[in-house]
Symmetry: C2
Subunit: 270 residues, 2 copies
């Protein structure tokens, strides 16, 4: 039987911050089940906080706090020390170091992220751009794009575009299909903005099969034929060479890692 840890996440805002860290932590324990369904956002009263902590104690839970309010955070810390509750405060260790370095105290206003500022507008409009110019739908968008991703089917063009858009880049993408002529506008795009995605044929076959499965289709098509995939990839490499695209091999890379490499390329060209 697998061991289980119940995790309580307490926040005076949404609590999204602790979730990202928690995924990184839990990934280090393939043999432990983390029950992460106890999430308590928007906590701002001492009584509700104490109720949650008593429950956590009963559940023998691990408590993670991203409370920014110092009063609430110290109530939680004292409760945990007194009762032997496993408690991690993600914010205040930072606050203490920053106060030591600068003498400045945090404003303690929950969830001050993602307000209507220019970064926010830039991100939203980049996401809309990525959606509008996905899948070669409107190749004239290539001229406005920071990046144009090229690749055969299932080389993760769409999720990569969205991920990069989330970081503020305007990204368009074009599927490469040997039977379909390339849009003429491609000639006019600065080659530094072109990213060619490749992938090991065997992995591509696996990903495509999974795709067909999920669509409820049978596997006997040229889409998952290894020889056909080799031909498609050869064709795509010729296109990359012709247009001077930077090539990235995304076999065994996550979207995040591939995006990281693309960002490094972008930085080099600036």
């Amino acid at each position: 039987m697998k061991k289980e840890i119940i995790v309580y996440s307490i926040s005076d805002s949404l609590g999204g911050t602790s979730q990202k860290l928690l995924s990184a932590v839990t990934a280090q324990y393939p043999d432990i089940i983390f029950n992460n369904s106890y999430r308590f956002p928007f906590i701002n009263q001492e009584e509700e906080l104490l109720d949650i902590l008593y429950d956590a104690l009963k559940d023998n839970a691990l408590v993670i706090s991203t409370l920014v309010n110092s009063q609430l955070a110290s109530v939680a810390r004292e409760f945990s020390q007194k009762n032997g509750l496993a408690y991690l405060d993600l914010m205040h260790p930072f606050f203490e170091i920053i106060e030591e370095k600068t003498g400045t105290r945090p404003i303690e206003v929950p969830g001050t992220l993602h307000r209507l500022d220019s970064d926010y507008f830039k991100k939203i409009s980049a996401i809309e751009f990525a959606v509008k110019y996905d899948d070669g739908k409107a190749p004239q968008g290539f001229l406005e794009a920071d990046l144009v991703l090229l690749g055969v089917s299932r080389t993760s063009k769409t999720p990569l575009s969205i991920y990069l858009a989330n970081k503020g880049y305007k990204v368009a993408n074009l599927p490469l299909i040997p039977e379909v002529p390339l849009p003429q506008v491609l000639d006019k795009v600065d080659s530094h903005r072109l990213i060619g995605l490749i992938c090991e044929p065997e992995k591509l076959m696996k990903v495509r099969s999974h795709r067909l499965d999920s669509l409820g289709l049978t596997q006997e098509t040229s889409y998952t034929d290894l020889e056909k995939i080799y031909q498609e990839l050869d064709y795509s490499k010729k296109v990359f060479k012709q247009f001077g695209a930077q090539v990235i091999n995304m076999t065994d890379k996550s979207i995040e890692e591939t995006a990281f490499l693309i960002e490094e390329q972008v930085k080099k060209m600036n």
Copy 2:
């Protein structure tokens, strides 16, 4: 003059985890400039780690580590204690608590997130779904969707769809335009799956003006006319009532907060 803190981020993977936490922390200090351009991903050698720590010391930096490797992490911790370097390890406090609770040690494999598992496929396909069924492009997709977002222009339908897709939901969206007839398929969608987005007219006017600015257009259009916006919103509320959509007011809410409320709705209906 504003105070500045230089932040060094050290990771044996991409280092994305610390960045999320860091944004939450820095949001608490509007009067401090955080220089966050010193990012060191894929660190796996003691010598390169020590080089970075010596530089951090010279820069009087705050060092954040998401190193999972215990050997490297203890080198960094000892160096920092000895030299008075401000150092925060985000991972090992978790590891210690979990070992105490379960006796289990972390596998210490960097970046074990986002591999080819079924969650990963689900997320990718949800993003593709959102892109495909954005902006009412193919209303037949509504029948397959977990959620259909409805709202007038600039109520954040697209970024919300993408954000929810990122969490694995299949989301379609439809812009409501008084002059354009509604697609008939809307009658067949379970009303619990329909989410109506509204927003204060004044905010909508501001957001739309910003949109026109960013497109380099002048402001004298009915798109930003307050009276016209009132009419549009009234029309949208009638549509929500007619189809029994759950209504969410996204004025003063970030995408994340609105998505959170939508998820709560989804949980209630399951």
